[in-house]
């Protein structure tokens, strides 16, 4: 029971921890305040508790798929926040308004991801409240899982500090774009699960190489949205998302480069 509890809590916490670690890396690179983390985590914890309490009623909406709909809204919220962050972080000139927008987007993205994961954790843990025997092992397993998840997040953060400064921002934005694409992929999967989109047959099956059950598979899934057997529409949305992120980064620079020389901004 303890091991189960560790694994369950760890996989939920890991998804949030990786995203938050990535946002902290970007905060460091952009010389921003990190205090958005406090607002994000406390808001997220409160929202996840509320979502957990009302999940039963929410689930019954939309013909039994209310849970999928709310999760889709959360994921799309995260995706929009990440796209905004990518756009501003890659901008050539950043003013204070844009900085404040990024700060707000980081708060919201953190809140949404913690709400999504936290609700499941709340439901799992509340089921064992008062069950005297199992409760101790379940709750200690949960604490261990939380600890491991946070440690992995810290490790992820530290890994990025080893990247040489010149490439640092580019690599961070690239990983952020991949995480955003993974979020889009999850959105599509939720819509397929709710029968709002038709599913199709898998394009390939790489479970021989890296199975989804395995530790490596889970890690790849959390960071890059790895799927062993993706369907055509999942693949299409993933690539579309990456293209969109690339456009957010490259288009402003292309437009800037094509301005006539007399309209170029004066060098500082």
């Amino acid at each position: 029971m303890l091991i189960n509890s560790v694994i369950i809590i760890l996989s939920e916490v890991l998804e949030a921890a990786i995203l938050i670690a990535l946002l902290l890396v970007l905060t460091r690179q952009l010389n921003m305040h990190w205090h958005w983390l406090i607002a994000g985590t406390s808001g997220g914890a409160a929202l996840s508790w509320i979502y957990g309490v009302f999940l039963g009623d929410v689930s019954d909406l939309f013909g039994g798929v209310g849970q999928e709909v709310v999760n889709v809204l959360l994921q799309m919220g995260i995706y929009l926040c990440l796209s905004l962050i990518i756009y501003v972080a890659a901008s050539l000139r950043v003013n204070q308004v844009m900085r404040n927008t990024v700060y707000g987007a980081m708060v919201l993205a953190t809140m949404f991801v913690i709400t999504h994961e936290g609700a499941e954790i709340y439901l799992f843990l509340s089921g064992f409240w008062g069950a005297s025997g199992a409760a101790v092992s379940v709750y200690s397993g949960a604490a261990i899982g939380l600890g491991i998840g946070c440690s992995l997040g810290v490790l992820f953060f530290v890994l990025f500090t080893w990247v040489p400064d010149r490439a640092a921002k580019a690599i961070t934005l690239a990983v952020l774009a991949l995480v955003a694409a993974g979020v889009c992929l999850q959105t599509v999967q939720l819509l397929v699960q709710a029968n709002w989109i038709t599913s199709s047959t898998p394009v390939w099956d790489t479970s021989i190489l890296v199975g989804e059950h395995s530790v490596g598979g889970q890690l790849l899934h959390v960071i890059f949205g790895y799927e062993a057997s993706p369907s055509g529409i999942e693949l299409g949305v993933y690539l579309l998302s990456l293209t969109f992120s690339a456009a957010l980064v490259l288009l402003p620079r292309t437009i800037e480069a094509r301005r006539p020389c007399w309209a170029q901004p004066l060098a500082k």
Binding site: L55, Q67, L123, Q193, S199, F244, L248
Partner: protein
């Protein structure tokens, strides 16, 4: 200024794409429906036979008083069902085969398979 306009145009384009997908749904009539019950952290029936190449609606009725999460890697489905509630999970069209699933909150006991033939 141009940058901002382009950004909003792109955003609008992506959002339209999303909304198109949402409303391109399939008709719900004549879909086979099967009920799976969760009692004492066990799935009843633990083996369910469904027709292959057909979209199927599973209604999972959690008769325990604690929540359970219906999860399957093979079926790519993951859903939390609160105690005392029912939830709908759509699967398929499936190729013929055996697709295991489990209850993530009680994985040792709550296990089942869906056989598609």
């Amino acid at each position: 200024m141009i940058r901002q306009q382009l950004f909003y145009q792109l955003l609008y384009g992506v959002l339209s794409l999303f909304s198109l997908q949402v409303f391109a749904s399939v008709a719900f009539a004549d879909m086979p429906e099967y009920e799976i019950t969760i009692r004492n952290h066990l799935f009843h029936p633990s083996t369910l036979v469904v027709p292959a190449h057909t979209k199927v609606k599973l209604v999972i009725y959690n008769q325990d008083n604690t929540a359970e999460e219906f999860e399957s890697y093979e079926l790519n489905r993951e859903k939390v069902i609160i105690g005392g509630h029912k939830a709908a999970v759509f699967i398929g069209p499936l190729d013929p085969g055996v697709y295991p699933y489990f209850g993530e909150f009680n994985p040792r006991t709550a296990q089942g398979i869906i056989v598609s033939e």
